[in-house]
C-alpha cells in the first residue's frame, strides 16, 4: 500500500525544559560556590526576631525563610541560597516552556534564556538571596495573568489574576498597595459589569477574595504565633513614611540595563491583532512605579530593582505574547545589550564585595584568572 497519501505526523518535539532548568541551577550554584570560595557570600539577616523574614513586610520572604528552615543540616545562608536557586531555576524552566508556547523556536528560546541568565542584576538578585528577588518574581507572574485576563477572560483567567494579586500582597508593601487599583481590572474587563453596578460589585468581590483570604490567614497564623498587629503593620508604616531621594540613578539603570523594554514599545506601535495595550502598559509602568515610589517613600529598595523589574515584566510579557520572527531576533539583540550593559555598569549598582567575589574562580580549590568585568 502506498504511503504517499498519508498525512505525515510531526515527530514530537523533545522537551528541553528540565535540562534547561537544571543548567540554570548549575550555573547559579557555580556562581554561588565561587562567591563562597572568595568569601563574598552575603550574610543572612538575624533570625532572632519573632517572625524571621518580616523585616521588609514580605510574606514571601517569611515563607522562603520558613522553607529554608526545613534544611536543618545546612547553615541558614546556604539553605536560603538553595531555596532562591531552586526558585530561579523553576522560573527559568517555566520561562523556557512559555517561550515555546508563545511560538519561539527551541534554539532561540534557549538563547534567550542564556542571555537572561547572564544578566548581572538577575544573577545578583538570586545569589545575594535578596528580598528584591521575590518582588521580581511576583511582578513577572503578574504580566501573563494580566494578559490572559485581557485576551481570554475565562473564569480560569480571573482565578489566575486574583491569585497573582496575592503574590503582590505577599511580596511586600510597595506592591501590596497596588492591589486596590489592579483588582479593578477584573470588573472593568467584564462587559456586563461595566453596565450593571451589582455585577461590578460581584466581580470586584471575586477578584478581591483571594487577597482577603491571605490577609485573614496571616492574621490567624500571627495570632497563633502570638505576633501582634503592631509588628505586622510596622513595615507598612515605616516604608510609607516620606523620604525624598533622587530617582536619577534608578532611571538611568532602568534605561541602560533593560533596553529589552523597547520590544514592548515597538510591539505596541506596530499594528497587530494580538496587541494587548493594558498588559503592555502595566508591564512598562510597574518598574517606573517602583522607581518613583522608591524615591518618594522609604521603601529601601535597591537602586537596581526598577531595572530588574523591567527585565522581569518584559520576560513575563514575552512569555505570554506571540511576537513576529523579526521581533524575536530584535529581542535577542536587546537581551544581549541588556546583559552587557548590566555588567558594564555593575560598579554603579552592585555590592563591590559581591563583584570582587566573582573572580578569580575559586571553586573546589581551582584557581583560574579571568580579566575582571565592569
Amino acid at each position: 500500500m502506498s504511503q504517499a497519501g498519508l498525512p505525515v505526523l510531526a515527530a514530537p518535539r523533545r522537551d528541553w525544559a528540565l535540562p534547561v532548568g537544571l543548567l540554570v541551577a548549575a550555573f547559579l550554584l557555580f556562581v554561588d560556590g565561587n562567591l563562597a570560595g572568595n568569601g563574598a557570600l552575603g550574610q543572612v539577616e538575624s533570625t532572632g526576631v519573632a517572625l524571621p523574614g518580616w523585616e521588609h513586610g514580605s510574606l514571601l520572604r517569611v515563607l522562603v525563610v520558613w522553607v529554608a528552615g526545613w534544611f536543618a543540616i545546612l547553615d541558614a545562608g546556604t539553605a536560603l541560597l538553595l531555596v532562591h536557586v531552586s526558585m530561579a531555576s523553576l522560573a527559568a524552566l517555566l520561562t523556557y516552556r512559555f517561550l515555546l508556547v508563545s511560538g519561539w523556536p527551541a534554539v532561540q528560546a534557549a538563547l534567550a534564556l542564556a542571555l537572561i541568565a547572564s544578566h548581572g542584576m538577575l544573577i545578583y538578585a538570586t545569589t545575594t538571596t535578596s528580598a528584591e528577588f521575590l518582588v521580581l518574581l511576583a511582578i513577572a507572574a503578574l504580566i501573563p495573568a494580566q494578559r490572559r485576563l485581557e485576551a481570554v477572560g475565562d473564569v480560569q483567567s480571573v482565578i489566575n489574576y486574583s491569585l497573582t494579586l496575592t503574590l503582590l500582597l505577599m511580596a511586600g508593601p510597595p506592591l501590596a498597595v497596588l492591589i486596590p487599583l489592579l483588582v479593578l481590572a477584573v470588573p472593568i474587563h467584564e462587559a456586563e459589569a461595566r453596565q450593571k453596578p451589582q455585577v461590578f460589585a460581584a466581580m470586584l468581590l471575586v477578584a478581591s477574595i483571594p487577597t482577603l483570604i491571605i490577609i485573614t490567614g496571616v492574621l490567624a497564623m500571627a495570632g497563633r504565633a502570638g505576633i501582634g498587629m503592631d509588628m505586622l503593620a510596622q513595615p507598612f508604616v515605616e516604608q510609607f513614611s516620606l523620604a525624598r531621594r533622587p530617582a536619577t540613578l534608578m532611571m538611568v539603570l532602568l534605561v541602560a540595563t533593560a533596553p529589552v523594554a523597547l520590544v514592548l514599545i515597538i510591539h505596541g506601535a506596530v499594528p497587530d491583532r494580538r496587541r494587548k495595550p493594558v498588559t503592555t502598559l502595566v508591564a512598562l509602568a510597574l518598574p517606573l512605579y517602583l522607581a518613583i515610589g522608591n524615591s518618594t517613600f522609604d521603601w529601601q529598595l535597591a537602586a537596581w530593582l526598577p531595572a530588574g523589574a523591567m527585565m522581569a515584566t518584559a520576560l513575563g510579557w514575552l512569555c505570554a505574547t506571540r511576537v513576529r520572527p523579526w521581533m524575536r531576533w530584535l529581542t535577542l539583540a536587546l537581551l544581549l545589550v541588556s546583559s552587557v550593559a548590566s555588567w558594564m555598569l555593575a560598579r554603579i549598582w552592585a555590592d563591590p564585595m559581591w563583584l570582587d567575589g566573582l573572580l578569580p574562580i575559586q571553586l573546589y580549590g581551582l584557581q583560574i584568572s579571568i580579566p575582571a568585568l565592569g
Binding site: 481570554v152 456586563e192 468581590l205 471575586v206 483570604i213 490567614g217 497563633r224
Partner: protein, 648 residues
C-alpha cells in the same frame, strides 16, 4: 413467503385482500391512503409526515405515530388491512406461552415480534412488520410452517413484559451481581472488609487505651493531612476545570451540520415514581428536543403499583413514541433497578436518562451524538451538565445551584481533562446502549448508581466525557426533602467507595495512579469529611474558647500550622471556589450569598450522619426526592395547562 402468510386462514374479519400487497414505501403509502380514506389521517398531516419521513430517513409509519397524527393501534390495524392479515390484540388474545423461547427474548424486543399461536400446523407470529429480517428469523426457527399476523408495538411490549416478567425482573435485580459480584453493592461490606474494619477498630481502641495522647495526635495529624490534600485536589480540579479548554465544546455550527437522516434512534428513559403532577412538563420538554421525533424512543419507567402516575401518563394522550414500562414490584425498589428493567426493552443506539422535572436544552441529543461520533471508540458515556431553573427561590436553592455549578462546570470537566473516572450525575448521562449493556447496566443496590457506573465504566476500559449542554432541574428547596436526598447521595458515595475498595490493587491497576487518587479524594474523602467536620468544629471551638492551651498538644508542628491553614485559608478558598463557580454561568446574583456556604456544609454533615446510620441499618433504601415543590414548577405547570386549554 408473503403469499404463505396471506394464505393462512383465520376466523377473523378482514377486508378484501389484495393479490400482491405492496412493500417498502408503497406499503407505507398504501396504509396512509387507507387511513386517509377512513378519515383518520388528514391529507395535510400526511404531506407533512411524508416530507419529515424523507428528511429524517425514517419510515412513514414511525413519523405518523411519533407526530401523533395517528394512534398506534389505528396505524397497525390499517397495516393489517393492507396486508390482508388479521390484526390481533395481544392483551385480549395473548400468545401461547409454550411457543415462547426465553433465548429469543432479545429478538422479541429488537424486532417487534412474538410467536403467537400454532394453528393448522403452522406457527403464527405476531409482528408489526413483515420485513425480510423477520421472515428470515421465522424461517430459521419454524421453516416454512409459519405465518404472520399483525399487532402493534404496544401489544408486543405488553406481551413481552407479561411473558418475561419474572426473568426480566430478576435480571434487573441480579444481573450485575451474577456477572461481577465484587462490583455489586448487594452486600455493603465483604467478609475481608468486615475483618479489616474490626481489626482497625481494635487497634485504635488498644492504642487509645495504652497511649491516648500520641494516638489522638496521630489521628488529628492524619485528619489534617487529609483535609490539606482534599483542599489541594479541589483547588486543582477547580483551576483545571475553570479553563475554557476543559470544556468539550460542540459548536452550534457542528450541530447544524448534522443531517437528520443520519441520526440514530435514541432511547430516553424517564424513571418516575409518584410524580404524576410534573408529567406535563416532562412531555413538553421532551417534545421540544431538536431531534427527529420518530427517532426518539421515550420510555416512561413506572412502578406497576404507581397507578396515579400511570393513569396520568395515559391521560396525557402522549404521542406514539412514548411508551410506558411497568416495573414489577420487588426489592430493592430503586431507580437503577427500574432502569435496568427498562433497559431490556430499549432499541436505540444511544440512551439517556432524564428525571421527571428535567428540562434539557433542545440540542442535547444531537450534541451527544456528535460527541460519540468524534471521540475515541471507547467513549461509553457523555454527561450533560446539570443546573437549576429555580436558583433564586430561597437560600437552599441558591446554595444548591452554586454547588451544582461547581460540580458540573468545574469539577467534572476537570476530572475529564485529567483523564480520571467521572462519577456520573443522576440524569442527562448519555450512553452507547451496547456499552451500557456490556457492563450490565446500573447497580440496583447502589443508591448513587450513577457515580458507581462512572467508576465501573473506567474499570472496564471505557471513558466518560462532559458535553456543553445543560439540563435544568428543580433544585430541592425544602429542607427535610433536601436532607433526605443528600443523605442518599452520601450513602451512595460510601457504598461506591466500599464496593470498589474490595480490591484496591485491582482498582489501582485498572484506573491508574491519578484515577486512584481522584477516586479517593472525590468519592471517598467527601463522604468521610462530612462526618469528620462536626468533630473538628467542636475541637476548634474548644481551642478558641480555652485559648489554645488545653488542646494545643493535639496539633504538633507542622500539623498545627496545617490545621490553621486548613481552617482559615483552606475553608475560605473552598468558599471562593464555590463563588467563582457562579461566574461561568454568569450567576452574579449568587456571588455574595456564596459567603454563607459554611452553613450549607453544616447541612451536609447532618445528612452525612443520617447516611451513615442508614448505610448500617438500611443500605438499599431509596430516599425518594419529591419533585414539583418549586413555585416555578407550579407556574410552569399552570402555563402548560393554559396553553393546552388554549390549543384545545
Amino acid at each position: 413467503m408473503l403469499k404463505t402468510a396471506l394464505a393462512i386462514d383465520l376466523n377473523v374479519d378482514r377486508p378484501a385482500e389484495a393479490a400482491e400487497p405492496p412493500s417498502g414505501d408503497a406499503l407505507q403509502l398504501a396504509v396512509a391512503e387507507l387511513l386517509v380514506q377512513q378519515n383518520i389521517l388528514s391529507l395535510v398531516d400526511l404531506a407533512t409526515a411524508t416530507r419529515a419521513s424523507v428528511e429524517w430517513g425514517h419510515e412513514l409509519a414511525h413519523v405518523l405515530i411519533a407526530q401523533g397524527y395517528v394512534r398506534r393501534m389505528q396505524y397497525y390495524q390499517a397495516l393489517a388491512a393492507v396486508y390482508g392479515l388479521p390484526f390481533v390484540n395481544l392483551r385480549e388474545q395473548p400468545s401461547d406461552p409454550l411457543l415462547v423461547d426465553p433465548d429469543d427474548r432479545t429478538d422479541y424486543t429488537a424486532q417487534n415480534l412474538t410467536p403467537w399461536r400454532a394453528e393448522g400446523g403452522r406457527v403464527l407470529i405476531a409482528t408489526t412488520s413483515i420485513s425480510e429480517e423477520n421472515r428470515r428469523w421465522a424461517e430459521d426457527r419454524y421453516g416454512s410452517s409459519h405465518g404472520f399476523v399483525i399487532t402493534s408495538p404496544y401489544d408486543i411490549l405488553w406481551q413481552t413484559q407479561a411473558m418475561f416478567r419474572e426473568r426480566d425482573s430478576h435480571t434487573a435485580r441480579e444481573g450485575l451481581y451474577e456477572w461481577k459480584p465484587e462490583h455489586s453493592a448487594k452486600y455493603t461490606v465483604t467478609e475481608p472488609q468486615k475483618t479489616t474494619i474490626y481489626v482497625c477498630l481494635a487497634v485504635l481502641a488498644l492504642a487509645l487505651g495504652l497511649a491516648p495522647i500520641p494516638t489522638l495526635v496521630v489521628l488529628m495529624s492524619a485528619a489534617t493531612a487529609l483535609y490539606t490534600l482534599t483542599f489541594a485536589f479541589k483547588f486543582l480540579l477547580t483551576w483545571v476545570g475553570s479553563s475554557r479548554r476543559a470544556d468539550m465544546v460542540i459548536s452550534d455550527e457542528a450541530v447544524a451540520s448534522l443531517v437528520d437522516r443520519d441520526l440514530p434512534v435514541y432511547t430516553v428513559l424517564v424513571p418516575m415514581y409518584r410524580e404524576a403532577r410534573v408529567l406535563p412538563l416532562l412531555a413538553k420538554a421532551l417534545k421540544a428536543l431538536d431531534y427527529p421525533a420518530s427517532k426518539v424512543e421515550v420510555k416512561l419507567v413506572l412502578e406497576e403499583d404507581d397507578d396515579e402516575t400511570i393513569d396520568a401518563a395515559k391521560a396525557l394522550n402522549l404521542p406514539g413514541n412514548f411508551e410506558i414500562i411497568r416495573v414489577p414490584a420487588s426489592q430493592p425498589k430503586t431507580k437503577p433497578k427500574a432502569c435496568n428493567y427498562a433497559l431490556q426493552f430499549c432499541r436505540g443506539e444511544f440512551l439517556t436518562i432524564y428525571d421527571a422535572e428535567d428540562q434539557p436544552e433542545p440540542d442535547q441529543l444531537k450534541k451527544a451524538v456528535l460527541a460519540f461520533r468524534t471521540a475515541e471508540p471507547n467513549l461509553a458515556c457523555v454527561q450533560g451538565r446539570l443546573n437549576y431553573f429555580n436558583r433564586g427561590e430561597n437560600w437552599l436553592t441558591k446554595m444548591f445551584t452554586l454547588e451544582y455549578s461547581q460540580w458540573f462546570d468545574f469539577m467534572l470537566p476537570g476530572l475529564d481533562r485529567l483523564n480520571v473516572p467521572i462519577p456520573l450525575g443522576g440524569t442527562s448521562n448519555h450512553f452507547k446502549l451496547a456499552a451500557l449493556r456490556r457492563v450490565n447496566g446500573w447497580d440496583p443496590y447502589n443508591v448513587t448508581e450513577d457515580a458507581d457506573l462512572g467508576v465501573r465504566l473506567a474499570q472496564e476500559g471505557y471513558t466518560v466525557g462532559v458535553i456543553n449542554s445543560t439540563t435544568y432541574e428543580e433544585a430541592n428547596g425544602v429542607l427535610p426533602s433536601w436532607i433526605k436526598q443528600r443523605s442518599r447521595w452520601i450513602k451512595g458515595y460510601m457504598q461506591t467507595w466500599l464496593v470498589h475498595m474490595r480490591h484496591p490493587v485491582r482498582l489501582y491497576k485498572s484506573i491508574g495512579p491519578v484515577g486512584f487518587f481522584a477516586f479517593h479524594f472525590f468519592i471517598g474523602a467527601p463522604a468521610f469529611t462530612v462526618l469528620l467536620n462536626p468533630i473538628l468544629w467542636v475541637i476548634t471551638l474548644m481551642v478558641f474558647v480555652t485559648q489554645t492551651q488545653p488542646f494545643g498538644w493535639l496539633f504538633p508542628e507542622p500539623f498545627g500550622t496545617m490545621a490553621v491553614f486548613n481552617l482559615v485559608v483552606g475553608n475560605l478558598f473552598l468558599i471562593y471556589f464555590g463563588i467563582v463557580a457562579a461566574l461561568k454561568r454568569r450567576y452574579f446574583d449568587l456571588v455574595l450569598v456564596g459567603a454563607t456556604l459554611p452553613f450549607y456544609w453544616v447541612l451536609h454533615s447532618i445528612a452525612g450522619y443520617k447516611a451513615l446510620k442508614q448505610l448500617i441499618s438500611n443500605p438499599h433504601y431509596w430516599e425518594k426526592t419529591e419533585h414539583g415543590t418549586s413555585a416555578m414548577t407550579q407556574a410552569n405547570l399552570a402555563a402548560v395547562k393554559a396553553s393546552e386549554e388554549e390549543a384545545a
